[in-house]
Symmetry: C2
Subunit: 312 residues, 2 copies
DNA sequence: CATGTTGCTGCCGTTTCGGCAACGGCTATA
DNA sequence: TATAGCCGTTGCCGAAACGGCAGCAACATG
């Protein structure tokens, strides 16, 4: 089922690998064949598509436009294929997810497991990365569904849903703060804190608030792993900050206490966005999972905001 | 700039013409070439795409799926082309509009004229048809932008905007009703009325209301042309019904009087929807016109609802 | 300076494509 | 019922496109 010119597939491979010879290896063809198809494309478009650097190729402006078109075509071809397949009862395919670490503790594994019991022939690929990398992976067509902290999102992505979760402090049960119901940032900064490195978006949420307080926080630990920060907090090393999403099980085991964070009298929110490439129609099985994901995250949002009602 | 397999272009032509030989004539190639490409496609998809009837071809279910994919590809190719062209300063192309008759009196010509003064190299194609045909033309890729009465719209179309306009009675200046500020359906039915035929969507708006009144309206004239109905009303033949959109100029010439219609104490609305094919990104110049269209219709909606404030 | 890698280009066999003519199936009309 | 016209399909053959091989110059790396 390959009814598109080789040129666009070759172009796509060259764009991904950044090299004609590498693309040729990927496609199991001679590099000359790839080179010629690219030259032919450039002749037909009437403008160079790549800048030839000494070490590989880079897209020109026109090249990026074509890359966008080619991605639309190939992704839609993919959807067509799965549509045809599902017509003969074969409901299968792979859903590829790019997401931040927060949801790997319970949301994502729960959802995937539950989805697999109903649709056993749908596979999953999940990759953890930073928020901005999630958006980039979507834009490059390397993932179908993206979950990231909702900052500004580029116009070529579609924000399917936006759920807000309350940011809180995470402390061990024996911690002096553990008996409080809520906690302010100032109170936390009196203790050693486990800070997020700039690669985590929690950093960008908290840093402005900390800067406002103009108190230099007690030197503590910096990490770029939600998991690590949680484990450190559980051992009483300090105060960590995250949403309750990532600590469903651990807090039930009662080693950890989650304290909703207040700042200037109002909660601190962390906005979680679900994203999809805008110029694209998803295959049916991907769309189905996406709906469940939105529903589930909405459910969590509702539950948590009920547990910790609005305001201090 | 033809970097897609001939197969999909041939398929597209066959789908539109419903015949291999006709498609061949359209494409200036031998019919055998077209036939072979279709057969090859069917072999690669693994399922027939057309049903061979005695008189031409009809799409199968799989064929319709492929048609959708092919249309996505070709429309996106079109957008890519215009994107590349606009990069070298050439902002040109054709915007194709399918719309109902109501807006041909002033909205559409005003907009097109105004747009042409700014973007002189953008051409327009406008075709008048019934509301359901508008949606069908969009779905078949025969128009870029559709304007129709907003009933239920199929999921493969995107409703860009929805504007509501007040339905009213149209009478000559000398008509007994002409001195009123508003008018009810019952009052109108006491006089000869100019009824819309079922092909016009006004029919489907008014017929249920008329049926409720259970008075047989005085036999009068039925027509399927907004223009004709307006001219008839101007000559005092009877009461016509339409929105104020179509009578901007005539009512200023004071031959006609527009009386907002009330039914059971509340206004009767006519919802105008602007539609675009969902799985598609518009070329920049088309998108630009679309924005102006939405803005202008929104402006009219605001003005008219200010002129005839809510309620009786 | 040697070595490896890059993209590109003749040369040539293979595959694909398109035009021509003919065939069988069907409809409409006389 | 016979015939003319249109339909999609198929064999044949020349033309165009494609891909593999080997070799080129340009550049980076050591």
């Amino acid at each position: 089922m390959r009814f598109h010119s080789p040129s666009i597939q070759y172009f796509h491979a060259v764009r991904r690998t950044g090299s004609i010879r590498a693309a040729a290896r990927l496609l199991n063809v001679a590099s000359s064949a790839v080179s010629r198809q690219i030259l032919k494309l450039e002749q037909e478009v009437g403008s160079p598509l790549f800048e030839r650097n000494a070490r590989g190729l880079t897209l020109t402006t026109v090249g990026e436009m074509l890359a966008r078109h080619v991605m639309n075509v190939l992704q839609d071809l993919d959807r067509f294929r799965s549509d045809v397949a599902s017509l003969s009862g074969a409901w299968h395919g792979t859903v590829s997810i790019a997401c931040i670490e927060s949801i790997t503790e319970s949301v994502l594994p729960d959802l995937i497991a539950s989805h697999r019991t109903r649709a056993r022939r749908v596979s999953f690929t999940a990759e953890i990365m930073g928020s901005s990398d999630v958006l980039e992976a979507l834009r490059r067509g390397e993932a179908d569904i993206g979950i990231a902290i909702a900052l500004r999102h580029p116009p070529d992505l579609r924000q399917v849903a936006l759920k807000r979760f309350r940011l809180g402090a995470l402390v061990a049960r024996e911690h002096p703060l553990a008996r409080r119901k809520t906690v302010t940032l100032e109170q936390c900064l009196a203790f050693p804190v486990i800070q997020a490195l700039p690669e985590l978006s929690i950093y960008h949420l908290l840093q402005p608030l900390i800067a406002q307080l103009s108190e230099t926080p007690e030197p503590a630990i910096q990490a770029n792993s939600i998991d690590l920060m949680r484990e450190l907090a559980a051992r009483g090393v300090g105060v960590a900050f995250q949403t309750q999403l990532g600590i469903g099980r651990l807090s039930r085991d009662a080693q950890l206490v989650f304290l909703p964070l207040d700042n200037a009298g109002s909660p601190v929110w962390s906005d979680l966005g679900i994203y999809v490439r805008a110029e694209r129609t998803l295959p049916a099985f991907t769309e189905s999972f996406l709906q469940e994901l939105v529903r589930e995250l909405g459910e969590r949002e509702r539950r948590e905001n009920a547990a910790y009602p609005q305001g201090a």
